[in-house]
């Protein structure tokens, strides 16, 4: 009994810890003009107003940024999932020269401080005339998300028994058909996780987008939100309202796939 109470207590404590910051953002967004400044801890007060949300949606380019972000993230996700699922399969199922090297180099790409890559990215993209163009972002985002996605997909494939493919091959399926018709559907939990990761990495990326996109009509959400944040005059109310709305699609995504989340994120639990 005592154990149960302790468990509940600690869970509730961590629950407060994990949602309070977002409630704080909510309260700031509802405060109207003097958004940032309040000595009260209450979230809803008598002065609460949705004015900031109204201004944000109808008087700024927020919806355009939202559209751009959704578009970029969706394309990145599709590219990322299709590339990661195929190459991870090869890495999981076939032994070939340089395989270990490739696996390690995937991990190694995560080790270089990404801030130093900005300048060379800019140089390449401007040589290829991809500045102010979504293609530049598609390429960079899907490739930077790939290493983790490949690694993660590979771990999942490792848990799928080999006998499945052997049976399919005996039945006369081609390698591609085996992969496409049998392995891929089984792996949907991992595919979902991969999709989630690609989506999130492009949804919240800011630094590269700031380099590539210069036309405000092409801005993504992080860039747009940043523009409320002038050095000495931040519009906290608009910023907070925007921040909340930015979190919503990701949260919906997380909630809708949360049952895949646990089974899909294997991190190499079982050796294949």
């Amino acid at each position: 009994m005592i154990k149960k109470i302790l468990a509940w207590l600690s869970i509730l404590l961590f629950a407060v810890f994990s949602i309070y910051p977002m409630l704080y953002v909510l309260s700031v967004s509802l405060r109207g003009d003097n958004a940032f400044q309040s000595h009260s801890l209450e979230i809803f007060t008598a002065n609460s107003t949705v004015k900031n949300f109204y201004t944000l949606l109808w008087e700024t380019d927020f919806l355009i940024w939202m559209r751009n972000s959704l578009f970029i993230s969706t394309v990145t996700t599709l590219l990322g999932v299709s590339f990661a699922s195929t190459s991870a399969y090869a890495l999981s199922r076939y032994r070939f020269r340089g395989r270990n090297m490739m696996l390690f180099s995937l991990l190694a790409t995560q080790m270089f401080p990404s801030t130093m890559l900005i300048l060379p990215f800019y140089i390449i993209l401007s040589k290829l005339h991809l500045i102010d163009n979504f293609w530049g972002l598609f390429i960079i985002y899907s490739s930077t998300a790939l290493p983790f996605c490949v690694w993660q997909m590979k771990s999942y494939y490792d848990t799928v028994p080999k006998e499945l493919e052997e049976a399919a091959l005996l039945d006369g399926c081609s390698q591609w058909m085996t992969f496409y018709k049998i392995i891929l559907p089984i792996s949907s939990p991992a595919l979902v996780i991969t999709a989630l990761f690609s989506f999130m990495s492009s949804w919240s990326e800011y630094v590269i987008a700031a380099v590539v996109l210069q036309d405000p009509q092409l801005y993504t959400l992080p860039l747009g939100l940043r523009s409320f944040q002038a050095s000495l005059a931040t519009q906290w109310g608009l910023y907070a309202a925007g921040a909340l709305i930015v979190c919503v699609p990701v949260l919906i995504l997380f909630i809708s796939i949360s049952r895949y989340l646990v089974s899909g994120l294997t991190m190499g639990s079982v050796k294949g």
């Binding site: 090869a90 270089f112 890559l117 930077t144 380099v211």
Partner: protein
């Protein structure tokens, strides 16, 4: 089910593509060159990057739309960038041979830009009598050339007072302290100040610089050398400390937002702020007056605010002579009488054209008249690139002083030393030494050897396309081409510049100089200290991520009803984009308005903690933020691991009367290890290289550069101090450290498993 999911994706995709098919052509989303295909007269597109605050942006946009209407065929695209981002973004763009035609910003950016040779001198473009029409402050000169045409003059600090509280501003510092004391009150007697005499962003050197000249010294000598180890600076340090600790008329911790907020709520009688903030107070319906910052009674001198301009400069890169012509015309238009008056009328700034000073709009504007009077005691903002090193060193030492780590004497001495060494590093053009030759030889021989040694592999690689493993190739290649195309070139580019003298003075023509940057990095004691701190940062973070993650996972898995609900609840921190997390927590740690301190005071009756102005607490704040965003990932991984543990094991243990702890120790933990170790490994790499949190929570390493970890230090060296070569060398070192460490831990894990 699985099939369904895939088809959802398809539907989603089709919907998206079709919704964009309509918009793509009209707005030119996917084809920036779309306008070339239409039959209209060819359009000329001029880009302008600026850092105007919100109110000013509206006026700029109005002016530009008007200009476009008058000049058909011309499109002007204005882009807002935050000041620092504008600086680094413009550097990168100009370096890549492009960038906006026009760039608008404060006058101190022309020094670095001109030194890098990425903006144009204006002397050949405009006649000298055009310059003479402007206030000299608006046409700053760097090394004998004009580089900027200012649209406004000002940006200077002044004393702003709330007329409801105070009917007359203090005339000298004694009066300031007297009035300050009278108005610093704890109304309800709970030990917490409810109203302050004076507030300002005093942790930022720009805001305390005016006092230095009142104590008789200047920041820089006339020939641009730092002049910090002075009596004046020490006295100024002491003055601010006295205001805070002896007279207690300013808050213990006060950043710009807090000062602004306190004043707007009528909780501060006086404020030191710049002319840009007037609009804000007018909107907040504060009845305010302005005055000079009070005379220092001891020296009988006025504090001298820095007066600058913000204006337009021309990019060195122009796509065509037409672009240059058009850009020059836009620049003339934006600094013309008409537009300057528009700005004055709408946002109340002081125009830079001398002819306008007698305009009734300015004559009858009492605020502007007092402002002109304040400017008389001002001094021009230094524009040389070295000023940046002076500001930076001053900021670092000053914040250390405020945190109580050094005395005023030490702070002044160290600031001088530091600025001298920073200026030296910034201006030094490293010459190729002997190692450069060896290096080049080495690379040549290495390259040839690599080609020779891998000739077999290359042949078999190409043959592989037709061999039985063809399938593997086609599966592998798309991803790896993507990864290598995007990562490999930048990676080698960085290695190349890590051996080069790429810096402020060699921005356009750098060359390989050998291993100097590595020697500099490896002989610098700071790097080792930072390395130690980064390890603490990584270990503490990953430790908490994993323990909290496993703890929650075990509890949720064993005792909680509605597992899905709790799982979703704890995922929230993960779903929030990192930059939002960082800025939210920064707000929560605010000394005056942050909910954490309010909670401490209201419910625990503790005194407020100055989270962000003490090195230890600031670093702890960064760690807390990062723990918050990192534990959900580990929790999910652990939940996955727990589900794969067969239930029969627990039943057997139960029969053997193992208690909960024994069950955890002997069943759960060992079986979770194979799942948690790779996750923790990846977590370590991510945390080690996580720039966002430290940079944004501690506001670029505050206080006094004492919260940096290695990556944030690299970022600062590259983008704030222009030492690209050095920064690249440190990043290569970071990379090597991580590669060696992860190889080591992978190997040791491999050994354990095969035992």
């Amino acid at each position: 089910m699985k099939f369904q999911l895939l088809s959802y994706f398809k539907v989603f995709f089709v919907l998206y593509i079709s919704s964009f098919a309509f918009s793509a052509n009209s707005s030119g989303v996917l084809e920036p060159s779309a306008n070339l295909k239409t039959n209209k007269p060819p359009q000329l597109r001029i880009q302008l990057w600026h850092q105007m605050i919100y109110g000013h942006r509206q006026v700029l946009s109005e002016a530009l739309r008007q200009y476009e209407k008058e000049n058909p065929g011309l499109v002007i695209q204005e882009t807002y960038r935050e000041t620092e981002e504008l600086r680094s973004g413009f550097q990168a763009a100009a370096m890549g041979g492009s960038g906006p035609e026009l760039v608008y910003g404060p006058s101190d950016q022309i020094g670095p830009f001109a030194a890098m040779n990425i903006i144009r001198p204006l002397d050949d473009i405009f006649t000298s009598d055009l310059f003479s029409k402007f206030d000299p402050l608006a046409t700053p000169i760097y090394q004998g050339h004009h580089y900027m045409l200012g649209g406004v003059v000002g940006n200077h600090l002044m004393l702003i007072y709330n007329k409801k509280i105070l009917d007359r501003p203090p005339q000298n510092s004694d009066e300031l302290i007297e009035i300050g004391k009278n108005f610093t009150i704890d109304e309800d007697g709970d030990g917490k100040i409810d109203r302050y005499g004076l507030v300002f962003n005093y942790t930022e050197p720009f805001f305390f610089a005016p006092f230095i000249s009142a104590y008789g010294d200047s920041l820089m000598t006339a020939d641009g050398k730092p002049n910090l180890n002075t009596l004046g600076l020490k006295k100024t340090f002491q003055f601010i400390l006295d205001l805070r600790d002896k007279y207690k008329i300013i808050p213990k911790e006060c950043d710009y937002e807090t000062a602004n907020a306190l004043f707007k709520q009528g909780k501060a009688a006086m404020l030191i702020n710049g002319d840009w903030s007037w609009g804000d107070y007018k909107d907040a319906k504060i009845d305010f007056g302005i005055a000079r910052i009070p005379l220092i009674s001891e020296t009988k001198k006025w504090p001298s605010p820095l007066v600058g301009t913000a204006g337009y400069s021309l990019n060195i890169n122009m796509r065509s002579p037409e672009h240059l012509r058009a850009a020059v015309n836009v620049m003339k238009y934006l600094t013309s009488e008409k537009i300057q008056l528009l700005f004055t009328e709408k946002v109340g700034v002081l125009p830079s054209l001398l002819a306008l000073r007698s305009n009734p709009l300015i004559k009858e504007n009492s605020l502007l008249q007092i402002s002109v009077n304040i400017m008389e005691v001002g001094s021009p903002m230094p524009v040389i690139p070295e000023a940046r090193a002076v500001w930076d060193s001053l900021r670092i030492q000053y914040q250390k002083l405020l945190a109580g780590s050094v005395t005023p004497e030490e702070a002044a001495r160290d600031a001088q030393k530091m600025s001298e060494s920073q200026i030296h590093d910034m201006n030094e053009i490293l010459q190729p030494d002997f190692s450069a030759l060896i290096l080049k030889l080495f690379i040549m021989i290495g390259g040839l050897w690599l080609c020779w040694a891998s000739r077999g592999s290359i042949v078999s690689f190409i043959k592989g396309f037709h061999g039985p493993q063809r399938f593997v190739y086609f599966m592998m290649l798309p991803a790896f081409i993507g990864i290598f195309a995007v990562i490999i070139y930048p990676f080698f580019y960085n290695i190349a510049i890590s051996f080069s003298n790429f810096s402020l003075r060699t921005f356009q023509d750098w060359s390989i100089i050998g291993v100097r940057n590595y020697i500099d990095a490896l002989t610098d004691a700071r790097i080792y200290a930072l390395f130690g701190k980064t390890i603490i940062w990584t270990v503490v973070n990953v430790f908490f991520h994993v323990t909290i993650g496993v703890f929650l996972a075990v509890i949720i898995n064993q005792t909680m009803p509605v597992k899905g609900f709790w799982r979703t609840l704890f995922i929230i921190p993960w779903a929030v984009p990192q930059y939002i997390t960082a800025l939210t927590w920064r707000g929560m740690f605010n000394q005056e308005y942050g909910p954490i301190n309010i909670f401490l005071q209201k419910y625990l009756h503790l005194s407020p903690v100055q989270w962000l102005s003490q090195p230890f607490t600031a670093f702890a704040a960064c760690i807390l933020t990062n723990v918050w965003l990192g534990f959900p990932f580990m929790m999910i991984v652990a939940l996955g691991g727990l589900q794969s543990i067969p239930h029969s094991l627990y039943e057997a243990a139960f029969l053997d009367r193992a208690n909960a702890w024994q069950r955890f120790k002997h069943i759960t933990l060992p079986l979770l290890m194979p799942v948690m170790v790779p996750a923790a490994l990846l977590g370590c790499i991510w945390t080690f290289n996580n720039l966002n949190i430290v940079w944004l929570v501690s506001n670029a390493g505050e206080p006094g550069d004492q919260t940096h970890i290695l990556v944030s230090y690299v970022y600062k060296a590259a983008f704030n101090l222009y030492r690209y070569g050095y920064a690249a060398a440190v990043s290569v070192l970071i990379f090597l450290i991580l590669v060696l460490w992860s190889l080591g831990s992978l190997l040791s894990q491999y050994k354990k498993e095969t035992k």
